[in-house]
Amino acid sequence: MAKIITVTSGKGGVGKTTTTAAIGAALARTGDKVVVVDFDVGLRNLDLIMGAERRVVYDFVNVIQGDARLPQALIKDKRLDSLFLLPASQTRDKDALTEEGVDRVIGMLAQHFDWVICDSPAGIERGATLAMRHAEIAIVVTNPEVSSVRDSDRIVGILDSKTLRAERGETVDKRLLLTRYDHARAARGDMLKTEDVLEILSLPLLGIIPESNDVLRASNMGVPVSIHDPNSVPARAYQDAALRLKGENIAMELPRQRGGLFSKFLRRAA
């Protein structure tokens, strides 16, 4: 039976889709069967980040409405044999996703995959609550910035009340993924530090993804950042996060740029 993960944040533009693709690819690279599911009906983008935008024929809504069978809608990744994508629909009908439909499709996916990763739309509307409905693990993607932290806190409250697990009196395993982290700015006191965000949100840390050009470069190419340049700093950070999801005990290495206190003084003096 699959583990069902929801990647969520409340706020838009913090890196949910990037994270879904990167974690999905990193898990698939270890040999696990993974499906990433785009819940952002009307504004799908996971297909683009995965480089599969020209291969979309049927989508999530087609499957729910019975216009396509699930295997027809699943797109197999070009690079990794065990990675699949279920794209969202571009329909403007917000109510195209139904609770029953989502339950049925997630149930089918859970039988065939090791991991089902749901990419939530921004906001706290229907699409977002449907995306988190089946979550066993929630990755709360947060930037070290006030509005993102506030929205993450709100999402944590919703994870604790609106999910199937919450309704059954159980809890969703919530993990914080800090993205776009700039170690130098945090060290200067101009960006919230990891410890600050952890203390404010009191969530366990899944990983820290540094601000990096590699992320934009990978999205330009339509390749999940974790496999685009597997040795880049963000790729390694995502691979570590994926291993932590698998229960491995990987030390939380701060993804810092080189340069300690001494070289900083040198730079200032120069």
Binding site: E145, V146, V149, R150, D153, R154, G157, S161, A186, R188, G189, D190, M191, L192, K193, D196, I200, R268
Partner: protein, 90 residues
């Protein structure tokens, strides 16, 4: 001046941290309270409906926050013949 700034840098992160801590402790109360009100509403409706006919939509629970006192206001709308039912019961 630059020397002074280097020793006591004018940083913004501590402000962000403090503002968030104050805001979130407030929002958690209010939003957590939202759930509490929904539960109260359900329980009150169940008790009232056991004795008099009333509609699900006609129960209002409001919480007005203040210092040093908050007011919990409960308004249950019942059908017009409610008091006659009481008289008959007596």
């Amino acid at each position: 001046m630059t020397f002074w700034k280097r020793i006591f840098p004018n940083t913004s992160a501590p402000q962000a941290r403090e503002r968030l801590q104050i805001l979130l402790s407030h929002e958690r109360q209010v939003l957590g309270g939202g759930d509490l009100l929904a539960r109260l509403r359900e329980d009150i409706l169940a008790v009232v409906a056991k004795h008099v006919p009333c509609d699900q939509d006609n129960v209002k629970v409001r919480l007005e926050r203040g210092t040093p006192m908050s007011i919990l206001e409960i308004e249950v709308e019942v059908r017009g013949d409610f008091d006659q039912a009481l008289v008959r019961a007596a």
